[in-house]
């Protein structure tokens, strides 16, 4: 209870500093609308004053809007959520209810619980219900079990490089999908690997520094809690290739809760799961499925809506839970 109050208070601030972000680091968010302007991130409570007077609707009409969803874990059937397909459908209903349909959807991995063909088939079919042009994927560690990701790539990453990495451009924004769940080393964290790093360096070399960059990958590319594997060992090198760009947004999943951090030109953000929450970093024995009261589950699952407006160097990031009215 204390935690929820904390967040609500924090989100009513017009702007928050880096210490403020740490206060944001809790999974029980009720929905925040975050705007990056010239490297300063401002956040507003959903339904708050600033949003009622129209700034939200202005943001919603950016030149590019897309949605991130994550960690659907289709096939999971334990107490933390016996109906993960049902909650994924609720997330899709929220997407389909957005005032402006997203140009596309990014799914940041753990589509399945166990990389089983029937789980992939189900998630693939259900995601077709989203009203959008296209869905882009990166794999989570649950999607590459036992076959080094062959089944995943056949269904979700045709025509990609290496283990499934790729880039594309939309409305002047350069999107980069990275794979950091393969060839993990004993004792280590998420891993991109030399081949992918080399590809990334070449991929961004020709871009103007004014090009907004969005990087998406499953495991966070910033060190959130290494003891639980919440980080990527060679992320620092990957991000060094992006230092010269004015606006870099990194979108991750894996930790089943929203967290944000701004470091120089880079804004980091993790999304909620559509399946089940996980504990705050270091709380409890490990990062397994966290059981909450059935009535509360929808308040800890959700989607992330991202809007970009040219000329403002701005990405607006909105997290909303399945039970919020947004």
């Amino acid at each position: 209870m204390v935690k929820e109050k904390f967040i609500t208070e924090n989100l009513t601030h017009d702007g928050i500093d880096r210490r403020g972000f740490l206060k944001c680091m809790a999974w029980a968010g009720t929905g925040a609308y975050c705007v990056l302007q010239g490297g300063v991130l401002k956040s507003y409570a959903l339904g708050g004053e600033a949003l009622r007077n129209g700034s939200m609707s202005k943001m919603m009409k950016g030149e590019l809007g897309f949605v991130q969803i994550s960690d659907s874990h289709i096939g999971f059937d334990k107490a933390a959520n016996p109906d993960v397909t049902g909650t994924l459908r609720q997330a899709i209903a929220k997407i389909n209810a957005l005032p402006t349909p997203p140009s596309f959807v990014l799914h940041t991995g753990d589509l399945s619980q166990l990389s089983k063909p029937d789980q992939f088939d189900t998630v693939s079919e259900v995601l077709k219900e989203i009203r959008t042009e296209k869905t882009f994927y990166v794999p989570g560690e649950h999607d590459v079990l036992d076959d080094d990701g062959a089944g995943y790539r056949e269904r979700f990453a045709k025509g990609t490089m290496g283990d499934g990495w790729y880039s594309f451009d939309s409305a002047g924004v350069h999107f980069i999908g990275l794979v950091n769940v393969m060839n993990l080393k004993a004792g280590g964290l998420g891993n991109l690997g030399a081949d992918q790093l080399e590809w990334l360096e070449k991929d961004v070399k020709h871009l103007k520094s004014s090009t907004p960059i969005v990087v998406f990958a499953h495991i966070p590319l910033w060190s959130i809690y290494p003891d639980w594997g919440w980080g990527t060992s060679d992320a620092v090198q990957a991000l060094s290739y992006l230092k010269r760009f004015g606006s870099v947004t990194v979108l991750n999943g894996h930790i089943h809760q929203t967290m944000k951090k701004v470091e120089g030109n880079i804004t980091f953000h993790t999304a909620m799961s559509t399946a089940f929450p996980q504990a705050a970093p270091g709380v409890g024995p490990g990062p397994g499925p966290l059981k909450v009261d059935a009535g509360k589950l929808r308040s800890v699952l959700g989607i992330t809506d991202v809007n970009f407006i040219r000329g403002r160097n701005t990405l607006g990031i909105t997290d909303s839970t399945l039970d919020s009215s947004m």
């Binding site: 999971f76 334990k78 560690e141 004993a186 024995p285 397994g288 499925p289």
Partner: protein, 144 residues
């Protein structure tokens, strides 16, 4: 009784088919509910169990005699693997209550980890049966 004897037969078949592969390691894995506790082989004194729980192998180090069979059971609601760092043995992803076993026939230290959650590391030490120290250890590989 019928059910039990059936599972013993399928267990024996599994052992037989794996043993056929030969080499220093014999590995087998099975879905959690297919084998009842009654199917424990008679060589129980050479069987060791490692529990996978709360994103850790317990015990993290076990010392076993040559030819001992080590069985892992996943008690988490999250898939884990048992992957030897030197790729001497590699399990499939183990779902909740799934098991994986290896029989190690060569002395040495076998480090292993979970390839899904690589922070999970542990090891098996295989020692010659005549090693007297081993006699002081209990079934779980802990020193008495």
């Amino acid at each position: 009784m019928k059910l039990i004897s059936k599972s013993i037969v399928s267990f024996a078949l599994l052992v037989a088919s794996v043993a056929f592969a030969g080499g220093p390691v014999r590995a087998q894995s099975m879905a959690g509910k297919s084998v009842s506790g009654d199917a424990t082989p008679k060589t129980a004194s050479k069987s060791f169990n490692v529990e996978i729980k709360d994103f850790a192998f317990a015990p993290a180090t076990i010392t076993v005699p040559i030819g001992a069979k080590i069985t892992w059971v996943n008690k988490d609601e999250e898939p884990h693997t048992v992957t030897s760092t030197d790729r001497v043995f590699i399990s499939k992803a183990l779902d909740t209550d799934d098991q994986f076993s290896v029989t190690l026939d060569k002395p040495g230290t076998y480090e292993y980890f979970c390839s899904v959650h690589p922070r999970m590391v542990a090891k098996i030490v295989v020692v010659a049966a005549k090693d007297k120290q081993l006699m002081k250890m209990d079934k779980m590989g802990k020193m008495n």
